[in-house]
Subunit: 272 residues, 6 copies
């Protein structure tokens, strides 16, 4: 059977999620182009590497050539000083979309983040159409890319999925992750679903596993066909044994973004 | 135990779904009256046949006598020239409701269709209260019968369920059916649920199996008690192997109604 | 200045509202074609007459030729026996839309009715996206034409406004009209607004004047630019003096449709 | 591992649900204080008893001392004469909240009831933000406590969950319970989830098992982490065999509150 | 012309709003019964007095006899100790509704309050279906009466309007009243509209004049026919000249309830 | 009377709207600091000038010192090449917010734009919570600043109003402006309202005059107290006389953003 894609570009391919996707997306494409600032040395036959910085416009655009889809996981993965957020996430993602436009890429799957809506409270039960409410400059950069993807769909016909990843780690590491966890396998399932959905257009989806606590409503992304298979529940006892109960009155407990909502401005913090 | 109904009239009983319901609804009634334009020859002891055309007002009304429920699956099952849509679906269904009114039938379950809302896009995630948006004259006739059922509930106290069937076939035949499929068993479950729901009034429900891609929100029909048990997923590999990927930019891919949205006017088309 | 239209077809032109529109729409078109079953004898220079029955498909389609807009006010104006509703309103309106399709008419303004949503209660404050809830066969026929207009927009690109007229009379005649009244001048304003709105697509609008009691939300039709200028309030004292207070517990007081909700089936009633 | 609570006060501890919670909540606290008007004689080592009437302000407030959570199941469990509703449910619950305020209790879980929203119909599919619509004075008292809990959260920072219990019995006893049933185990799951949810604030939740008929939308309580595990379905055949089909036109069939909606005023009824 | 009512009972008739309504409602009834704890000595020919305390069940019920409408403005008009709130507002209003039930009164207009929803913020723009969120025990008592009125409509067919009065004073006295003000004349207009609305059922309405700042959405009460005629704007310059700008970060500035949200528990405060 | 502000910084003060605000905001502050890239030479006694480029971080931050409010109208006022959008609008606005944070400015009023939501259609009647849908890179930069303002409110307590200006010109210049026009006086009214609203927090408002065609719902900004006083209607005849009717089927007619939706990528266009 023909694979749905010929070549998928994965940015941030050496990172935590990038390496999972490298494994998980292999069935969907004849080959994968693995982009990262760091060289990747264990290339498989169906893989090729591309080493560049997202802030480098020409290199980034060049890396998109010949791809029919982009899974854009690269850029600063957490709060960083403004200049770095600007270069890696804002300018870098613009370069990715320009590459998609110039080289006819049809779909972009973007690693957006819970931090684009981090100041919403758990009990308001937002859905994917609720207003943005970023909790950091990092979160603002995620909002920027979501707007950019919306434009490139409406104006240039490039389909995009904005995956707002909550907490994707090998296993839940603290009590917040008991509801915010996205297992690696579910992350692969979600990105795969977005790549192969019959109709994507411009779609926002929350990226969580099937955890017991459900603070958001993902139903408007139901056309992606993402059905999480994992849950944080098996890890509950271990997590609760090693961590204190969070203060229920703390803003970081009440808000989606967790401790990001308590962060100060990144340029004020030394040695962070 | 007493069965919930004494006699259920099934129209279109010789058709694809009618024959499934003939089998599936047997446990709910002492007898079934099987109506169709075509004679049914293999009648079981608990069954009786009624042969007539829905456009025949007197015959249709007569066929409802002595029934306490009607499962109305008859009429043109797809786009047809206006005169046929008018006679079979519009006039014919009016005759059914008149029969229900004149003979004291309490519940009508109607085979409405996705084509009553076919121009809505998958990513708008409509629910059962969203505005109608038919994709064909056939779809307009389904809208008409929904309005008619609403009237007969509000004015005459006849309860109705409008089942908007998506694609009910033995198995998914194309990529669209990977999300639109309603298995025969789920179809029987849904009609049975509507017949036996504690409170029906006037209720609209989407008729789909528990497929992975979920483009609509059926929760407002939750009081019917329909829980689909089947999924198109086991058929995915086979379907994808034999069919091309649909063009994600085509209106027929983006809209609920599939290729019906691309149909021209039925009176213009020769030999279609 | 060029007028926005060359020729507008007005159906039901000899009727109560038709004659108002004949006067009121003159500034919008070079000429008006006035259609009715009854001959119109006092034609003005910019007017021409077309005498036919809407049930006559060929005549109706022919009457649309050369027009760039249709204001469709014709058909049975109240509850009638089924056969008449079917011929005048269902089949007749289908003929109008077929005429529009075959002769390239760009906009259709249709006299829909409160009776398409007559069983909704005043205190539920519906908007123009709320589900249909007809109160008569007449109301069902209005629902049918709304669905038809939706189809002809989505499939054939013919823009439509569905004006749900509440009570358009010279002045409020009973207590219900103190909230449901649409003055003749406001009726002209609303049809004119729909004809000249920059973007129409498929739009539903409630047709009421700026009365004090406001039981519906018309804001989703705000892009039509209809601003009512009249109110039933100056007539209140006179109306209240001559009519009894309605029973607040009666369904006909609580529902939009007024006494239509208490009507029986038209084919059961003799001499009504 | 440290238990989440030191001491939980359970009111109504000798009652039907109280005795279930006594068993079910033991893992969550070092000790349970069991309050009831009736003495409890089979105390376990981790339990202590408190015998008093909720109408006794001083005794009720005293009973809350030293507790870090309250599960308030006490008070009149059904419609009662006004004076009893006033004393047991309105005044009694005020005393509980005053105890919580004066003694620094952090969370209150309250046994609200379907009868706070009993006049809503099954087919309107309400959610936890829908307006109150009590069906009895008993239901009004539940509404009162919900408002009180809202105040004590906003003003005094005491978190509350309002559990609107539908029908919590050993097994479904009639056809209504086929959709309204809350198994004892699911009741324990729901109260436990509310006690341990990371963020509670002021939250309303419907208390039902995972029954097939789903007339309400509980998704806005998803942050509690309540996942029902039981269903009335295994009991369906037995229930249907021994009970008649409910009249689908009866208000008691159509409304959430069941036969409570048909009750008269409690002070009019003798010997009820 | 016949007046719409024969006798209206006004409670709290000696109070600030009661005396306005005494004047303003005279045109609507043949006579007014003026109830208050304080004797009213300047009775007009169309007026009669009734002196009693709302906590006196027999006297309150007796006072409703012979009335066809009640305008219930009596009870504690602000935060008071619990016992007083309980007696005057909770028990007292129950007595009023019992009177209405026992003596066949058709409509009750109740002076509810902004303090029933006082913790909602101005920028959330609530409507009349939004959840209750009281800011004081006084506010909780208003919530109680709203629930009671809902019950008496659904169960006993007594229509009620719950008027959530914001700030009804001779003129705006502080900066908050620049948006929360309800002029005396508009108060009379609103109560009159509720008394004479064609369909009332159970309706909640916000009571504000047509002030420039509009923090709530009153459209779901549009069927009352209340059109405010006054505005706080003419008083702005004077108010701003004599009062400081409120701290925009203070909860009392951000919330509907104003300084009520900062009040402590009334039983804790001495000499308030 | 004390003015509400001591010093307001107006950026883009030499521009079309800046000069209007310079005049209109004078009554609200003791002095105005007028910032622009171009020198302003006709300074009044209550004015001071600040000449710098928004891309200059240090200069921009310095210019905010001593101000208690900022009216940020500066930056590229239309679609420009990416580098200019990035420097003037994205980086420049970040500098403004950093200045506000570092110098304790309490309120920022930002000139956002219809082009942040330009691809929404007129007939979808969005409100201020609807998802962003920018129509240009310029629009994306407006979205970015809205997200930034949201962050600075939630994290740093700086209040912001995002004014989505539609078309603010001396008078309506084309048919689109007949609905999108914001008169200069209404622009001043809106900015003044936002500056003096009792509670601002983070608020989005559409900036339009009281035109007849109303394609958006601004009610969620009602707490600003903006009441437009002007309308495009008096200009209608003149505009219609000199401009053609727009093609109702063109995307630029159907969408909020007008001809911006048809623009290509700014870096592709030469000499635009």
């Amino acid at each position: 059977m023909t694979k749905p894609f010929q070549k998928i570009l994965i940015t941030g391919a050496a990172g935590r999620l990038g390496s999972q996707l490298r494994r998980g997306l292999a069935p969907l494409a004849d080959s994968l182009r693995l982009a990262d600032r760091e060289p990747i040395t264990d290339l498989q036959p169906h893989e090729e590497a591309a080493v560049f910085d997202l802030g480098d416009e020409a290199a980034t655009i060049a890396a998109t050539e010949g791809c029919d889809a982009i899974v854009h996981m690269g850029g600063a993965p957490t709060e960083r000083p403004w200049q770095e957020v600007l270069d890696s996430n804002i300018r870098g993602s613009y370069h990715i979309y320009e590459g998609a436009r110039k080289h006819g890429v049809r779909r972009v799957i973007y690693a957006s983040s819970v931090h684009a809506i981090g100041y919403h409270q758990l009990d308001t039960h937002i859905d994917t159409d609720s207003p943005l409410r970023p909790d950091t400059l990092y979160g603002v950069s995620k909002c920027f890319v979501e707007s950019l993807g919306s434009l490139y769909w409406d104006k240039f016909g490039i389909e995009s999925a904005m995956i707002r990843i909550f907490s994707s780690f090998p296993e839940p590491a603290d009590r917040r992750m008991l509801w915010s966890w996205l297992s690696f396998d579910d992350c692969v399932r979600l990105v795969s679903a977005a790549l192969t959905a019959p109709h994507l257009g411009y779609t926002v989806s929350f990226g969580m596993s099937d955890n017991r606590v459900k603070p958001v409503d993902n139903s408007k992304a139901g056309h992606l066909g993402y059905i999480p298979q994992d849950s944080a529940e098996p890890y509950r006892a271990a997590v609760e044994a090693k961590t204190d109960i969070a203060d229920p009155m703390a803003r970081s407990t009440q808000c989606m973004g967790g401790w990001y909502v308590d962060m100060g401005h990144p340029d004020d913090e030394v040695g962070k």
